[in-house]
């Protein structure tokens, strides 16, 4: 299964991610 988030945010929104990394519920995806 897959979960897709699509959202609007100001230009300086930053993801704290690497493509292909494992992630767990509750860990940071990103913020301003």
């Amino acid at each position: 299964s897959t979960i897709v988030l699509i959202f609007e945010a100001p230009k300086d929104f930053n993801f704290r991610l690497q493509a292909g990394q494992k992630i767990r519920f509750g860990e940071a995806l990103g913020s301003l």
């Binding site: 299964s1 897959t2 979960i3 897709v4 988030l5 699509i6 959202f7 609007e8 945010a9 100001p10 230009k11 929104f13 993801f15 704290r16 991610l17 690497q18 493509a19 292909g20 990394q21 494992k22 992630i23 767990r24 519920f25 509750g26 860990e27 940071a28 995806l29 990103g30 913020s31 301003l32």
Partner: protein
Amino acid sequence: VHTAPARTSSLLRPLPILVATGGGYAGYRQYEKYRERELEKLGLDVPPKLAGHWEVALPSAGPEAEAGTAELHVQTCSETALLAPDGPLLPPAPRRPQAPQPGGMEACEQGGLVQVGANALAVAGLGPPQPSGAAALAAQAVYSLYIWTFGVNMKEAAVEDLHHYRNLSEFFRRKLKPQARPVCGLHSVISPSDGKILNFGQVKNCEVEQVKGVTYSLESFLGPRTPSEDLPFPPATPHSSFRSQLVTREGNELYHCVIYLAPGDYHCFHSPTDWTVSHRRHFPGSLMSVNPGMARWIKELFCHNERVVLTGDWKHGFFSLTAVGATNVGSIRIYFDRDLHTNSPRYSKGSYNDFSFVTHANKEGIPMRKGEHLGEFNLG
């Protein structure tokens, strides 16, 4: 071949053809790989090889979808038919050795399907209620095989005792100990689930990348915006693109993130931020595998599969979370949406059904806190 008797030679005749075609195909694949390596050495971008229409149609019409739905019925059947008030789904043996109840009628005596793992064992309604040892062993074997195959960490599960899970479906939607996943308080958006990050970033020209280089259209994925009276933001001007119907504030951009849940992952999902859910759109659809390999091969994969799109608002404007089903995981539950019924065997392609959580009594919709339980993927 020449000396073999007639019957054998008729069997052997196709052999050379098979060897020639198989060898030819293998050679062609090797040449393809060699060519891609050479192009990469020259610094040229190798476009991903996408599946053709007939290759897409094949898996979505394959037996998997039927098996997934059929399995759901077995799951449902085992949960209703055998759930006598105190009736276990599995024979009592896998739970704890129990002394046979004097005259006690076990659920198994009523017959029906005992769901053991992914296979249903038919338990005839005759004879003594004591289950066969095979059923007990099968249950343990299925759970242990599943845990070992997918590297499930049972120490994180809210209930570690396997005897608690009456069938694989319950095991699949196990909950975690609260302390197993602390929610990050620092960042405004957290991961709604366990999984692997397939792709993320800004959405450009309304095309979202499912994986690097393979995209799908945002409008086919979310569907057309519902009539303006249902939406909390101003109606779009006729000429504006789909994107401007989503981005409601000057200077904002559209972002996306795709998280792939592998079979052994924790399959509940939570609210990724503080937001209000105002609308749900359910797209019945195929149940093709969504593993990274398929996401690289089938364009618009997520637009073929069954999915549930939740839309609403967060502090910066538009926000949406979409749960996309997959092979054997076609049932999607949203805890506050009792009207949602997924994984039905009959649906018309491209159809969807809408539901608004904004009512006269509740102008806002459903408020969700960051980390709050939101829904789950179910086996079947």
